[in-house]
């Protein structure tokens, strides 16, 4: 990482964790906390989807893992009386393991066939949540307590959210931090050997196999990392809303996760983050247009994808493009 990008990261962290809360306090728009918390968490799930794109698979099933992660956390908190912060990684691990079993058969499929199966996955998960006794069916799980305190060796890392004056701010800060960590991990993966191997897989699976890459194993690994992101995003989301229903994450959410990636730019690690921000805020800003909201919104998405097929980040305002990226853009035209 060079000095320039290190500086950009530091500025970004300061903006997210300091400037945004200050601005919200000044403007008095406390509702923005919920919006931005949602953006942070949805962008984590989108990051997972982006990573499956990175091995050349269109994933429209992230909602399934967000829902599964949410239920794992909710059930563990309610029935096993576990601390939420412990259930957060467990939800991610549960989804990662689940995705290994789901991924092994379906990752053999490519293109639209894989996409179709993942699309159905979200619906299957919703129906499973409706049917299973542990999820309490359509009534869902409500009145989930706020996260408790975390302390290691007597030092309190995170306070009990019940004692906080402003849990909204706390949720925002925690979610934003989680987002920064997840994108840091994703960036590191993409720029390490694992990322290079994923790119080889994306560009030519046969050749990747012939240079000795265990492609079926690598596909499952990438998919489980992707699902891990979906699981922790779902779990954190449920902690914020304190309730979960089978309809908490639906097919529409899965589609949105995918759209976030398209809109931000598939060639850029931080594409899904920007895509989520633009899509989520765009929808909110159009609220005043009433019954035309969906019409304007969908027209704008169609236009954006037509005009910027490689995503918003391909405008080049945000980062200097390397030669390979430039080339990828030309190919996409």
């Amino acid at each position: 990482m060079n000095i320039r990008s290190l500086l950009a990261v530091i500025v970004f962290i300061i903006v997210v964790l300091v400037a945004v809360p200050v601005l919200i306090a000044k403007s008095g728009r406390w509702d923005f906390y919920y919006t931005l918390t949602s953006v942070a968490l949805l962008s984590i799930a989108s990051a997972g989807v982006w990573f499956t794109f990175y091995i050349g698979r269109i994933n429209i099933g992230q909602g399934a893992y967000a829902l599964a992660g949410g239920y794992v956390s909710a059930v563990l908190v309610m029935k096993a009386d576990m601390n939420f912060w412990l259930t957060l990684p467990l939800a991610g691990i549960f989804c990662a393991v689940l995705s290994v079993f789901i991924g092994m058969p379906i990752l053999r499929l490519r293109g639209v066939y894989f996409a179709m199966v993942t699309l159905i996955l979200t619906e299957v998960m919703r129906l499973a949540a409706l049917a299973l006794p542990v999820t309490n069916g359509a009534k869902g799980i409500t009145s989930i307590p706020l996260p408790g305190a975390v302390s290691i060796g007597g030092v309190t890392l995170l306070p009990d959210f019940n004692t906080l004056e402003n849990p909204k701010l706390a949720f925002y800060l925690v979610s934003a931090t989680l987002m920064i960590i997840c994108y840091g991990v994703l960036w590191r993966i993409v720029n390490s050997r694992l990322g290079h191997l994923c790119r080889s897989l994306q560009q030519n699976e046969e050749l990747a196999a012939s240079i000795g890459v265990n492609i079926s194993w690598l596909r499952v690994l990438a998919y489980s990392i992707s699902s891990f992101f979906g699981g922790i995003a779902g779990a954190m989301f449920i902690a914020v809303s304190q309730s979960i229903y089978p309809s908490s994450f639906q097919v529409a959410d899965s589609v949105n996760f995918m759209l976030n990636c398209f809109l931000g730019g598939l060639g850029y690690v931080f594409g899904p983050m920007l895509g989520t921000l633009v899509l989520y805020f765009g929808w909110d800003l159009l609220f005043s247009t009433g019954k035309y909201q969906l019409l304007i919104y969908s027209s704008m998405i169609i236009l954006l994808i037509l005009l910027l097929p490689n995503g918003i980040l391909s405008l080049g305002l945000f980062n200097r493009k390397i030669k390979a990226d430039k080339h990828r853009d030309q190919e996409g035209q």
Partner: protein, 260 residues
């Protein structure tokens, strides 16, 4: 002559069609052996069987006595038998150098987690792969285009890059699938030289499938001829050139001409 690679009674059946029928031959270490035959003779299928891209119906392929047939491609590559492809098969959106670096995967000492965390071992690997890639680039004369994106390259360079990718895995046996196809005389001679140096300088055993007779005669230590899935001849280039059965397979027999 101890065999490095040994093909033993290999048969491949697709339903009622027998693509490869009971073919056997040995490849000695540091040998250049060509498999030739008319179109549809089963040469490419044979290659797929040796590299485990397809499973044999019966028979087996051994590398230094170890069975390598009916495994998966990456396992066979790990054992040291690596194939290149007929068409220019490369990682299109990567630069030439990145194509070669990523193909060093098999030589990796550090784990993927090590690479993620940037361990000392991983950094040593990265440095070694970079050096080795530069070495291969120089060996194949690709210096001028090392930082070009692969999909921009002309055909001849793509073929050389395909070979570089194979070479980067550190193979014992390199399977080249029609390395001279679609090349003019000069390009072919350049490639013939490269393949020879692959063996002479790098000690790689080469097994190739090819149509270009002039190149095959020039480059091969020995030749195996197959027709309709069966081996019909095996020997040195000069022996093959005067073999009646081979001439018949390529030109048709006198009886056929009279019959028509």
């Amino acid at each position: 002559m101890a065999a490095l690679l040994s093909v033993q009674g290999v048969t491949k059946r697709y339903g009622g069609l027998i693509a490869v029928n009971n073919v056997s031959f040995d490849v000695a270490a540091s040998e250049i052996l060509s498999v030739i035959g008319p179109n549809g003779a089963g040469k490419s299928t044979l290659f797929k069987l040796i590299s485990s891209f397809t499973q044999v119906t019966s028979g087996k392929v051994l590398l230094e006595g170890d069975r390598i047939s009916n495994l998966t491609p990456h396992v066979v590559a790990r054992k040291g038998v690596v194939r290149t492809f007929q068409e220019a098969t490369i990682f299109r959106a990567m630069t030439v150098r990145d194509n070669i670096i990523v193909s060093h995967h098999l030589r990796s000492q550090a784990s993927l987690l090590g690479f993620f965390l940037g361990s000392a071992k991983a950094r040593a690997d990265e440095a070694a792969f970079g050096d080795s890639a530069d070495d291969i680039i120089e060996f194949l004369g690709l210096q001028g285009i090392a930082n070009e994106v692969a999909s921009n390259l002309p055909q001849g360079h793509l073929r050389a890059l395909g070979m570089a990718i194979g070479l980067a895995t550190g193979p014992k046996v390199l399977l080249l699938d029609e390395p001279f196809a679609g090349m003019n005389h000069d390009e072919t001679m350049h490639m013939v030289n490269l393949v020879r140096r692959l063996r002479d300088d790098r000690g790689v055993t080469v097994l190739l499938v090819e149509h270009d007779m002039a190149a095959v005669m020039k480059i091969s230590d020995r030749i195996v001829v197959i027709n309709f899935g069966q081996k019909i001849a095996e020997g040195t280039p000069s022996a093959i050139q005067s073999n009646d059965q081979v001439i018949e397979a390529y030109l048709g027999s006198e009886d056929d001409v009279i019959g028509m």
